[in-house]
Symmetry: C2
DNA sequence: TGCAGTCCAGAACGATCGTTCGATAGATGT
DNA sequence: ACATCTATCGAACGATCGTTCTGGACTGCA
């Protein structure tokens, strides 16, 4: 057997095309892992499942990511790890409190839609990782919560929010957003913007408790 | 070795106390499994973990539940499988639409608090079970959703709800309730009733979009 | 030409998984 | 007294898990 490493397809395929050149095996691994983790969970997905889906050896995963947790970490790196900064940026811009709250919420919804599977993975498995609980994952959750608690306290100081339990309000907002990425299907009947508007309205009325002004 | 099956504690323990008599091993297994499943997930918990926690052999799990999925099923049997009927009962009572909606929501919150870990297990793993997706679990989710969609459509017909997207509203409600059982800690500073009131208010304002009448 | 570095396959390792099986101690019924 | 049933143990099975290792093909640089 001389050609163990030659692409097995034969004459009709491009003569040289090791996975890497034809699009980056690393990215293919990430995408496949996201799909499988989202469908079966971290523990429910073996690295052999991922490798077999792409028709490659399991070694490539260790080559690119070190181990299985490294793969998980790499997924979070490009997706949810940027969420807190994104929300904090939306918060920092100008405008009155209500306007900024709305902007944060929209940014959150947009990020959840864009990294839907990644966020789902994160939310489902984040408190089951690395035995003692992944520290970084907990920090992400906390920073997101703090953004909401902060803006809600501002709104409360301005009399826009009547409830004193801003933390519970923040949890409720998180519940709506995090549930959204579990039920939303991009091929549904409504345009993404319509869904956003519906959710933003629900949350705004929920926290404010009275119809917001025309803007 | 003559005494392999005698309780190993010796003279200071009650002379006969096979686990079953001293409280029902079956119930102890269920409780232990709930704790571990909630903490590490279904796939992340081995039957040896469960057996070892109680200091018994793995065979007892097969004796009482047939296999690992039977254990999962038994947990759902006494907890979340009764949820749809409970909500439908709350819905069926008298009163106007808003009153019934509030009653359903309260029943849902109470059930989620009472079977907190069981509900958490159900929500996290329900779409990863038995390869093709557990049919019964999906049916539970659907019946709960239908209760909310139904009452919301009633409220919409009465002009209480302005949005036409009752399904999205229902999802939002489910998001709040299902997130509640992830963050709520019974030993927190607030009494359960205060938390309920806070959440009910948030949801009501969210779906109605205007301050509800005094009752 | 040689040599180091990168990329990948395939076999193998020990651990752990869900599950099965025979044995046994005690309770129950005849 | 004997047979049956229930509850439990401990050992074992094959499968699968995450991970490691060896080696080969290729690239880039001296």
């Amino acid at each position: 057997m001389l050609d163990t490493n030659i692409n097995q397809a034969g004459p009709d395929s491009a003569p040289e095309a090791t996975e890497r050149e034809r699009g980056g095996l690393r990215e293919e691994l990430l995408q496949t892992a996201v799909d499988l983790f989202a469908a079966r969970g971290f523990k429910g997905t073996s690295i052999r499942d991922i490798a077999k889906t792409l028709g490659v050896s399991v070694s490539v995963i260790y080559h690119y990511f070190g181990n299985k947790e490294g793969l998980w970490s790499a997924i979070l790196d490009y997706s949810v790890k940027g969420l807190p900064a994104r929300l904090e940026a939306a918060l920092a811009g100008g405008g009155h409190a209500l306007e900024r709250f709305r902007r944060v919420l929209r940014a959150h919804l947009a990020a959840s839609a864009h990294y839907q599977k990644e966020s789902k993975i994160f939310l489902i498995d984040y408190d089951r990782m690395s035995a003692a609980g992944d520290q970084a994952s907990k920090a992400i959750q906390k920073r997101v919560l703090d953004v909401y608690v902060g803006i809600l306290e501002e709104m409360q100081a301005e009399g826009l929010v009547k409830s004193a339990q801003t933390k519970i309000l923040a949890f409720n907002v998180l519940g709506v957003v995090n549930w959204y990425l579990r039920w939303y299907r991009p091929d549904g009947p409504l345009a993404p913007e319509e869904v956003y508007e519906e959710i933003v309205t629900f949350v705004l009325y929920g926290v404010i408790g009275t119809p917001p002004g025309r803007n």
